[in-house]
Symmetry: C2
Subunit: 354 residues, 2 copies
């Protein structure tokens, strides 16, 4: 049932397991290469990387593996900067900055899609085999540039309508992100509250409506989840939180420990860290800022405003103000090495399927 499907053949991977392209330094070249070397598809989370970092990460991964890997990019959003709203947000964030001794208020500039377009050129130059996108579908000409270079393109969807939009755009595959998933919601059509569909319900409904291969994401952390995803109609599973806790992951150790010590009912959605809804372990920052959520500037402006707070909180071991992204499956995460995690999953699948 799980041997060699269309997606695995296209990606050239041995196992139908994809490590999610978590941004913010989680996906070290060591993590990405470990996953690819173990037979899955590692992914560089390049959403917040500049061009030099993107290129350096790709080159380092290529030194560590000759297997396929992916780079994940954030389809750009360029909201208008409203100075009054930024000033208001800074006022709400002031107590955290003061407590962390942050004297500098971040400068907010208009975002430009140009970095994203240049990242795509880097991927082409570096002959990256797979490029995945979160937060929407890039312009057709950009997608076309990748496709003519035989770079496989993977989109992200949280509803059946978004899956169809990805298929219509020419995406080769699409990640179906269920409501259990940690980190940012990939919703780009409609209201995100209505796009909180559990993976169990999302996969079969999408499988019946689109023909490109689906990748199940959200709530999957072991072989049981991978095999269940295949049965529901996906051709692979994408796993984030479990890889975040791995030894090779670049996540702050406090973040890893917070996940490993948390329960399934402790993560909640918040848009206070970035201006876009994301699932993380509930903490003081999320609780205190909840009432301002509707009035914070949109992503990525709010993300820029909270960047130093998140970083300094990590350095000063104040987990209560860090963005502790996590899915709803922390109890299933073990914190082993990426190779052990992948090997364990495969053993579990082979045992169940035998």
């Amino acid at each position: 049932m799980w041997h060699s499907n269309r997606l695995m053949k296209a990606l050239g991977i041995r196992y139908p397991i994809i490590q999610a392209g978590m941004a913010g330094g989680v996906t070290t070249p060591e993590l990405v290469a470990a996953v690819s070397n173990a037979g899955g598809l590692g992914t560089i989370g390049a959403g917040y990387l500049n061009l030099e970092q993107t290129r350096a990460s790709i080159r380092k991964v290529k030194q560590l593996t000759n297997k396929p890997f992916a780079v994940n990019l954030f389809t750009p959003e360029t909201p208008e900067v409203v100075e009054k709203d930024v000033a208001q947000a800074n006022e709400w964030l002031r107590p955290f900055r003061e407590a962390l001794h942050i004297s500098e208020i971040p400068e907010v500039k208009e975002e430009h899609a140009i970095i994203f377009e240049q990242q795509i050129q880097v991927l082409i130059e570096e002959e990256v085999p797979v490029c995945s996108f979160t937060f929407g579908i890039p312009d057709a000409d950009l997608l076309q540039q990748l496709k003519v270079e035989d770079i496989l393109v993977i989109g992200t969807a949280t509803t059946v309508a978004e899956a169809k939009a990805n298929e219509d755009s020419g995406m080769d595959m699409v990640v179906m992100q269920g409501s259990e998933a940690g980190g940012h919601r990939g919703t780009f059509l409609g209201r995100f509250e209505e796009a909180m569909i559990g993976t169990m319900a999302l996969i079969p409904q999408a499988a019946d409506q689109v023909t490109i291969p689906l990748i199940a994401a959200g709530g999957i952390a072991d072989g049981r989840g991978v095999l269940a995803s295949l049965i529901l109609g996906a051709q692979a599973a994408q796993i984030g939180t479990a890889f975040l806790t791995c030894a090779e992951s670049g996540a702050n150790d406090l973040h890893k420990q917070a996940v490993l010590n948390s329960r399934e009912d402790q993560s909640m959605l918040t848009s206070s860290f970035s201006g876009k809804p994301a699932r993380g372990i509930q903490n003081d920052f999320m609780i205190k800022m909840k009432k301002y959520e509707p009035d914070f500037p949109p992503y990525p402006i709010q993300n820029t405003l909270t960047k130093s707070i998140r970083r300094l909180a990590g350095q000063q071991q104040r987990t209560e103000w860090m963005s502790l992204w996590s899915g709803q499956n922390p109890r299933t995460c073990q914190g082993q090495s990426a190779k052990d995690l992948l090997d364990d999953m495969i053993r579990q699948i082979e045992h169940m399927a035998s």
Copy 2:
């Protein structure tokens, strides 16, 4: 993988499929018996039935099948009636009553657990083989009365902690209700917002923590979902919405059609109909009453207040004010007969498992 597990042996059923005990007239004796006759476990949703109705339903089911079936009861809640809050709720509900020509304002009485205790006596007298509970764990002496009569008892949980509480109480099995599920949330410990765990994440985490058999619920409507549930660690799947749309179901035809014509992103949680959060297809009543949700009287008081609105809306074909309970999987529902639905699921499972 799915043949004859501990749960199936204990329940005496051929297939690991349980029809959810949906209340409000959905679970006709014909539906319950059709499911049991086809090899699953039918369930009478007796949550809102009085003693005579409970007994009559059981006797009718027994006439239609000699196979095992279950009765689902609502563990009672007896909140204090605060007249001021009831008056306020009636004021907010007035526009709907006027539009539906409802002149009578329902009388709200203090709820008493005595009906529930008498229902249990009926189950014992009628030698019902299985009794399931929603909204919490009954007093130990009541559970004991069922257990000494060899009636299997099944609890409902929405978190691992609730699963453990059910196990500790002596429940023989527990339904794990994922966030995809239609109708009322079974949460009874902690805050329901934090107990919205997707089925994909909930089942493995509970399976690792409790030893009694688990029944997966939420987002399951076909053989793919049933088999995935077993792989995740459940020993059976409970299915609600798909059976609600069946020919034998007592749901209003408008309700069935609304489900069959809806999308995965159209159901939302509301507590405006009953005072307790429940998932249904979003409509005018839910949208208009949303802002009053925190101030409506608790379940079951609010349920009593909206009863005539819901009933008359159904009679007058005004779906915009009906409670259109639905899970997040309406696209997978087909509206066939219960036997065909069950047969289709088994065929699908056997095809996948072969």
